[in-house]
Amino acid sequence: MLIDDNDIDLKINGKIVAFTKTFEDIVVCRSGEEALNYLKQHLTTPERLPEFILLDIQMPEMSGFEFLDHYKKLPVSFTEGCNIAMLSSTLDFSDIQRAEANPYVVKLLKKPLIPAVLQEVVKEHLQR
């Protein structure tokens, strides 16, 4: 699942994710709210729930960090099977620390997303 308010970045990162050939399906959401709605709607159909989420930090209204606050209220049965990587063009050290201190976040990836870097994270955290 990709969550980003920026259409161009969604397109770019969608392509890069597709390029890793790890995922069968990619769900694209233009805001944190949209993503939460999708997740809640499909809680009963686990096959449609994501195993991996790429979450942008800087979004209007609901930022990436605010999304995480809502996300942690979702059932554990889902969240324990799903990894989140945050995505940002930030160079701000405090953002990086804050993101990686969050128990649901496996890594903060910097934009531009490098395919090799994504592949490494996916390999490390997605055992099947």
Binding site: N6, I8, D9, I12, N13, K15, I16, F19, Q58, S89, T90, L91, F93, K111, P112, L113, I114, P115
Partner: protein
């Protein structure tokens, strides 16, 4: 009266003096009176007094004692001491400890007192105006800094999208499809990104108070080398680090300093030199870290050596932002470090830095 009313507080234990003062000045000033220091303090707590006149000789608290007691709590009102006799000791004490603006002997002349109050009020106003100006400037400066920060981030977001697109083009094997155009776009984008990152560094360096954190030079230097040598694999790095003790200082600023110098050492190589090298020597003890970074690059003209740390100084032939070494110097100033540079066009450039070792906290 079109001038704002001046608020004067007069403290004297002799009631008739207060009456006389009121009679003489009530048309010119807004007058508050008190017969003791305690009563005067009560008025100060409730009203923004501009000028305080106090009699020196009062039972319980003298005028000087009163001024001393309010020095920190009410520093703004300007003080005038009034006394019936010439008491040099009280005078010296008043000037040294009570922050007294004028000293007037009783019985006062109306004209003299009037002039003193007028001058005292001008001094009060100047003091307040100056403070307002300073806080206004601080605010503007702060806003400007935050503006730099947010505009840099806003500029960077679409830029990284462009770089992302170039990456996609590479992935899809289209990079060489339009002559060298994609390559040129990539070079320009990276350069722009470099400027934006420098600007952000400048902002952060301006903002933060120095922090105290442990620094492992071995790790830091190898990270920086791999970061900056990404674009240039020819340069040979000879790193010698001797760090037998812990080192504490501002890790962010040290990273900025070393990063800029290492980046420069790589960037300003002689293109014809077959054995490009950069030597990094770091020696740490409980007092300081001494860092020497030398290269066999193009060197710096003697005339330029003094100017390289100036903001926006660039040499004609080499493309820089004019910010790198300026940021280095600023960062060093903030952590009490020093930098020296020697250079020879034939041999290369050597930067020598000394940074004090802060104690572990």
């Amino acid at each position: 009266m079109d001038t704002p009313s001046v608020k004067v507080l007069y403290i004297d234990d002799e009631e008739h003096n207060l009456q006389a003062f009121k009679a003489s000045f009530r048309r010119q000033y807004e007058i508050y009176t008190a017969t003791s220091a305690a009563a005067g303090l009560l008025i100060l707590q409730n009203i923004d007094i501009n000028v305080i006149i106090a009699d020196q000789k009062m039972p319980e608290t003298t005028g000087v004692q009163f001024f001393k007691s309010i020095k920190d709590t009410y520093p703004d009102p300007v003080r005038i001491l009034l006394t019936g006799y010439t008491d040099i000791e009280a005078l010296a004490d008043a000037i040294n400890h009570g922050d007294v603006y004028r000293y007037i002997t009783k019985p006062w002349s109306d004209l003299e007192l009037h002039n003193s109050i007028k001058n005292a009020y001008d001094a009060y106003k100047a003091k307040i105006d100056l403070r307002n100006k300073v806080s206004e400037l601080e605010k503007t400066n702060d806003e400007l800094n935050r503006f730099i920060y947010s505009i840099s981030h806003e500029l960077r977001a679409p830029l990284v999208s462009v770089i992302g697109i170039v990456n996609l083009v590479k992935m899809e094997g289209l990079y060489n499809s339009s002559g060298e155009y994609w390559n040129l776009i990539e070079i320009c984008s990276n350069k722009l990104d470099f400027y934006i990152q420098k600007t952000l560094q400048y902002y952060k360096n301006n903002k933060n108070v120095a922090e105290h954190s442990p620094v492992e030079f071995e790790i830091l230097v190898s990270e920086l080398i791999s970061l900056y040598s990404y674009s240039d694999r020819d340069t040979q790095f000879n790193v010698k680090i001797n760090q037998p003790v812990g080192f504490y200082n501002d890790a962010f600023r040290i990273e900025v300093i070393l990063g800029n110098l290492i980046n420069n050492a790589i960037k300003y190589q002689k293109s014809t030199e077959p054995n490009k090298f950069v030597n990094i020597d770091i020696d740490v003890d409980v007092q300081r870290a001494e860092i020497t970074i030398s290269d066999n690059g193009i060197g710096i003209l003697n005339d330029h050596l003094e100017k390289i740390f100036n903001q926006f100084f660039k040499s004609k032939n080499h493309h820089g932002s004019g910010l790198g070494l300026f940021i280095v110097k600023e960062a060093l100033t903030r952590i009490n470090g020093k930098i020296e540079v020697t250079s020879d066009l034939a041999i290369g450039t050597t930067f020598k830095i000394t940074i004090p070792n802060g104690k572990a906290t």
